[in-house]
Amino acid sequence: MSSSSPSNKETVMRKVPLFSRMPILPPSVTVPASIILLIILLALLVPIVSPYDALRQNLTERLSAPGTAHILGTDALGRDCFTRIFYGTRISLFVALIPTAFAVLIGMAAGIAAAFFGKAADALVTWLSDVTLAFPGMLLAMVIMYSFGGSFSSIVISIVIMEWGSIARIVRSVTLSILENEYILAARSIGVKRFNIIIRHIIPNLIPTLIVLFTLNIPASILSESSLSFLGIGIQPPEVSLGLMVNESRTLLFNKPHLVLGPAGMIMLLVLSFNFLGDALRDRFDQEV
Amino acid sequence: MSEDLLLELRDLSVSIVGKKETLPIVKGIDLHIPRGSIVGLVGESGCGKSMTAKSINNILPPFARVTGGSIIWRTEASGEVDLALLKEKEMRKKCGTEIAMVFQEPMTSLNPLMQVGEQIKEVLTIHGVERDNKKAKDRVIEMLSKVGIAEPALRYNAWPHELSGGMRQRVMIAMAMICQPKLLIADEPTTALDVTIEAQILSLIKELCRNNSMSALVITHNMGVVSTLCDYVYVMYLGSVVESAPVKELFNNPCHPYTRGLLSSIPHVGDNPEFLHTIPGNVPDMKKHFKGCDFCLRCSDDIKQCFFEKPALTETGAGHFVRCHRSLGA
């Protein structure tokens, strides 16, 4: 930011009314939102509250059926499934939220640059996003796993690279349609500087799209992470993730199906509620315009 | 009197039916269209004129429905029919053959992925008027030339986006006229066109009506279009008719304060007053319900009665009806 005088900067920052009057939300938004909050809360509390340690093996209680001691029974190495599911959810959510946030930020910057800063920037961003989109996500992740091994950071990087492209493309087209409005020409004719036009006019009008993109890309990240862990090239043991739990109990699918059902059910519940929330938010914002 | 009426709207009301509440848009309209005459329906945006037109051939949007009154359609072939009660199938049989419509936006009223000629021929094939493909194509080309399109055989295969606005409106008129309908509904036919093209389209409509002794219902907000094209005119405000009269009579002797205000706030080439006369305030929200006359808040010569009692439509001259307490000499 140029060294603009404090009053101008102060007015610019305060002038962006993000949620100044967010009206009451319809049930189609509050229901999935509360499910998600409940899961996050449990994911934080259960591993602490639960008597069992998610990672410590206890071979004497191997494969015990769901009952009073272990609500969902224990897995092949005697670890309590109920605790592990919520411990795994915490990792899965962490590995989903962080890259989605980065992907949305990078996508936003790239999308605005492509739409706002002329032909060259547009060609560069489009080329870069086409290159990353030309890879099947799984293979791109494999290349990254090959180079950096199966650590947290490599999963986060591969999910960011997988998702930023499509976000940038959507942000670019929405920004282009915003730029067609006459209030942008009005700002230019008033003499508002280019940077201020982005801050005061483009970003506030992009916010609904960004929120929907963020909400709809989280489930995509959860699916990618769990698929990678399922293939054994994602989260490595002894760490826990929902995809890894499904992979570990896969061989017992036919005689102990509940071992697979637990983590699989949690993945589906998470992804379903985020998708539901994303849809509801999109309808809500379309109504508002 | 009602024998030679082609179409008669009796106390027609249309409302938007929401989950919780219904919003009346058209509040009991009586309208007569005699055979071979061009009737105008004029009013500002939001007064319900377009909904009235669309209720006749039932192309109302899904959230709107006819909630009262009847649409009496009289023809030799099917005698007297209430269109409001017709099922979708019977209604569609009449659309395109007996009742045709032309729309406001020529840019978006044609299917962009289908050639223009094909879209016109579809009217013939759908109604089985002309089974043979070759003959149907010739009839379309003949119709295209009748509406003033040069090289009709060539234009038959043109795509909509290749034609100008005026050309596309001619295609729409050709599509409407191909089965010699009894009634042409024109919903703001020239609003989206330039003034020179507008003049040509208006004269084309007038000529087609006269040659085929076809009636027309013209929806517009432009008083100039009314004076050029229409024989009789209904003025609408907030969902009901406030005044109706033969066009000459309305322009020379407007009785309702709203009509007078409307006519005097139109700028005319040549005379330039210091300031234009305006009607104070702006059109109230549809949801607002008035105990008395809808126009009372904005009326300059209103009296106490206007605020408490809804005025009825009374005849003050030959075919000149006004909905205003003052007109009865009160």
């Binding site: 005088s5 409005n181 009008n205 | 330039d194 507008e198 700028p267 234009l276």
Partner: protein
């Protein structure tokens, strides 16, 4: 009569498709005198809107020179152009898209005032905004409300308030009443005429509607396919038009 803007031999063409170039403005020369209302009238595609944007330097011309109060502005860079931006303000056609839906009325009108730091304190800016609302006959309580809560006519009033906020020398109205109903159109035309007299503005009025132009304009330029085919004072042009196209336009007006 002092000239506010004089443009000489302006040319502007746009590229459509691979090779074809569409000549929007073809060698136009034009003077706008201080204090007058000049109308640019013509059908769609006649280049009147493009010419207005060229005069305001919102788009750069291929050729020709434009002088604002004697100073050449065609070759200026964006930065040097800024002070002139303050002197020329634009009122748009479409009430739905000329106001930012995410900003309330106070911020919309305040934007020019804050961009040019006309007042150093927020109270003075708010005072000026109240004054502007009063000038365009809008109620005080509209400050906190958002554009979608207003009718077309009210939105045009907000647009006008924003345009006159920094006391410009030139007010450009690009089809500012075309999207409005007859009654509201009359109110806005009266408002424009009143403001022009009170603030001693020069006004460039672009429209396709000859009757509106005959009411508001002192002088009229008739444009066709990127060229000016006739320029004359209002009464003379409407009483005895010389150019054949002007006569054709006048005769096409329905209901004359």
């Amino acid at each position: 009569m002092q000239t506010l803007i004089s443009a000489r031999n302006i040319k502007k063409s746009f590229r459509i498709g691979r090779k074809k170039r569409f000549l929007a403005v073809n060698d136009v020369s034009l003077d706008i005198f201080k204090g007058e209302t000049l109308a640019l009238v013509g059908e769609s595609g006649s280049g009147k809107s493009t010419l207005a944007k060229l005069l305001m330097r919102l788009i750069k011309a291929d050729e020709g020179s434009i002088a604002f109060e004697g100073q050449e502005i065609e070759e200026l860079s964006e930065k040097e152009m800024l002070p002139f931006r303050r002197e020329m303000q634009l009122v748009f056609q479409d009430p739905a898209s000329s106001l930012d839906p995410r900003m309330n009325v106070r911020d919309i009108i305040a934007e020019p005032l804050e961009t040019w730091k006309v007042y150093d304190s927020r109270e003075k800016t708010d005072e000026r905004i109240m004054e502007l609302l009063d000038m365009v006959e809008l109620k005080e309580d509209s400050l906190k409300r958002y554009p979608r809560q207003f009718s077309g006519g009210q939105r045009q009033r907000i647009s006008i308030a924003r345009a006159i906020a920094v006391n410009p020398k030139l007010l450009v109205c690009d089809e500012s009443v075309s999207a409005l109903d007859v009654c509201v159109q009359a109110q806005i035309l009266n408002l424009l005429k009143k403001l022009k007299q009170e603030m001693d503005l020069t006004c460039l009025f672009i429209s396709h509607d000859l009757s509106v132009v005959s009411f508001i304009a002192d002088r009229v330029c008739v444009m066709k396919d990127g060229e000016i085919c006739e320029t004359a004072p209002g009464e003379k042009l409407f009483k005895s038009p010389e150019h054949e196209y002007t006569r054709y336009l006048l005769s096409s007006i329905p209901g004359q």
